[in-house]
């Protein structure tokens, strides 16, 4: 490896050549914003040559809480759990189709439990170095700030996080990807 005469460039160049992003994980929750994040993650994966994973978490913690609060009855909890399972399959399949279209491999992960814990767990287990998430809802009250689970995951996860914005621009970027 050559030095170009500037202090510190040897290290910087080595880092660049290995690529700063090797493993990307996109969090999918069925919202349009998360699908846009999926498209952006596919573009990133292609340009960085990084491995791509897509995670969907079936929020069984929320289902259990609704049952405890007596808002759900038992049969309803089961019914919604089945709905969420189907949603998970449908949205992960959609991400796979989007990735296939651009010849990118994607590792699909369907988890159940607490959203924050499952995101953190997957980041750690898969040694993810970039978590990609969709645009967050605008904070409109103190309660939003306290309870938005994806936002809390973003704050507590160990890797870098990228929030994808501007759906139209991402669509164009994705469509133009060869």
């Amino acid at each position: 490896m050559k030095r170009d005469g500037k202090p510190g460039n040897l290290i910087k160049r080595k880092y660049y050549m290995e690529g700063p992003i090797k493993k990307i994980m996109v969090y999918i929750d069925g919202t349009e914003e998360s699908i846009t994040a999926g498209q952006y993650a596919i573009c990133l994966s292609k340009s960085a040559g990084a491995e791509l994973s897509a995670l969907y978490v079936i929020n069984t913690r929320a289902l259990n809480e609704l049952l405890r609060a007596r808002i759900f009855i038992k049969s309803e909890q089961e019914e919604y759990k089945n709905d969420l399972e189907k949603d998970a399959d449908r949205y992960l399949k959609h991400i796979k189709a989007l990735a296939d279209e651009k010849a990118i491999n994607v590792n699909l992960i369907k988890a159940s439990g607490n959203i924050i814990a499952e995101i953190k767990k997957s980041v750690k287990e898969l040694d993810i170095d970039l978590l990609v998430i969709g645009e967050l809802s605008r904070i409109q009250s103190r309660l939003d700030e306290l309870h938005n689970e994806v936002e809390r995951a973003m704050r507590s996860v160990s890797c870098s996080v990228l929030i994808v914005k501007d759906q139209e621009r991402v669509e164009t970027l994705y469509e133009s990807l060869k």
Partner: protein, 148 residues
């Protein structure tokens, strides 16, 4: 989708006029029709009543959360009604219900539906919030509470 994104003055009714569970459900559904969120009042009522027949959604502390999956809405939809004098909603604690959140979601939106119900459940744990909400004089006051 956050609850605060669903709420606006057009879908809040204070005070509700109904004096029975059926009256209240129909009144809240009519609020949604008048606000342009649904067309078919009868089918919506059937879907809400079907869920209610499996077990009352009247909880403790004066709150009721009737909800249903229904194809009469394209997106998740909320109506909020307040009846300061309360009405018998077959609640868990046997006390009259005063604050009613009607939440409707299309059958393919289980995730957002669960999130919104969870958010209402969290709010319902705050007696202060419920008391303040049940004392709201008009829709504007009620909506402001969600944004504070």
């Amino acid at each position: 989708m956050e609850l605060v994104e669903l709420i606006n003055e057009n879908i809040v009714k204070i005070p509700l006029a109904g004096n029975s569970k059926d009256d209240i459900l129909k009144e809240l559904i009519t609020v949604l029709k008048d606000a342009g969120y649904i067309d078919d009042v009868e089918e919506t009522y059937r879907d809400v009543r079907k869920r209610e027949d499996k077990g009352s959604t009247g909880l403790e502390n004066g709150i009721a959360i009737p909800h249903a999956k229904t194809s009469t809405v394209k997106d998740m939809t909320l109506a909020l009604g307040i009846k300061p004098s309360g009405v018998d909603f077959e609640s868990l604690d046997g006390k009259p219900s005063k604050v009613f959140f009607l939440l409707l979601a299309p059958p393919d939106q289980a995730g957002p539906h669960i999130e919104a119900l969870s958010e209402i459940a969290r709010l319902s744990r705050s007696r202060y919030f419920l008391e303040t909400l049940s004392n709201a004089k008009n829709p504007k006051e009620a909506v402001e509470l969600f944004k504070s």
